[in-house]
Symmetry: C2
Subunit: 108 residues, 2 copies
DNA sequence: ACAGGTTGTAAGTGATCGCTTACCGTAAGT
DNA sequence: ACTTACGGTAAGCGATCACTTACAACCTGT
């Protein structure tokens, strides 16, 4: 049920920008804020939300905190989406299939 | 870039409930509202947002409107998530790998 | 111990959001 | 044509959210 937190965390554009900023390479709060049009505290708050959703994790490095992507939250979201995808696609196919393949299985 | 709309659409719990209600089987607005603790106009507004995000589609059936899941928006979201997943996991592995392989390439 | 640098948190504010009730348009039945 | 059922939209309201500035806590050199 934690995928809900991941979804609401990734809903905000700025927070998503923070998240995507960490693609591949980790970064400190200040570094992230420098690339975005918002203040440093704003980035800090966004990181807090992302961390709570299991999307990022942090490690201390001296006085700085290096944030990186946590596969945990991303994995939960992916699992939910995949499951949903299979179900939805199956239902969608069945829906479309009806007129295309006039059910001639049972008789006629 | 449309995955942003899908994410913000699925962020709200009620709207997500509306969306998940359509798992497998399509339903009318009234049917959906009957299963949820919100009014019918609320459901209608949620469906509007979901439709705008490409997550649901509707077909007229007499005076009723039957809503069903649209694989389009779900697919875009899935594509973005998969791409992100691969990149993030690769970076995460490389990150963990570093201490295991103490960098002895450039002298000592 | 002091100074400079980096981060988290508190308080306040303007905007957005989700919900409700009320109303209007549309489709089917008598 | 009138009635009944169904759904979208407008208006308004309370709550949440994202952002800012100000402040406190922490670590590192000198």
């Amino acid at each position: 049920m934690a995928y809900g937190m991941a979804l609401s965390a990734l809903a905000d554009p700025t927070r998503r920008a923070v998240f995507e900023r960490l693609r591949g390479k980790a970064a400190s709060v200040g570094e992230i804020a420098a690339d975005l049009p918002v203040s440093r505290p704003a980035v800090s708050q966004h990181l807090k939300a992302l961390k709570l959703a299991g999307l990022v994790a942090d490690r201390s490095e001296g006085a700085r905190r290096i944030y990186h992507i946590d596969p945990l939250g991303l994995g939960e979201l992916r699992r939910w989406l995949d499951e949903f995808w299979d179900e939805a696609l199956a239902a969608f196919k069945k829906e479309v299939e009806v007129p295309a393949t006039p059910r001639r299985r049972k008789q006629a």
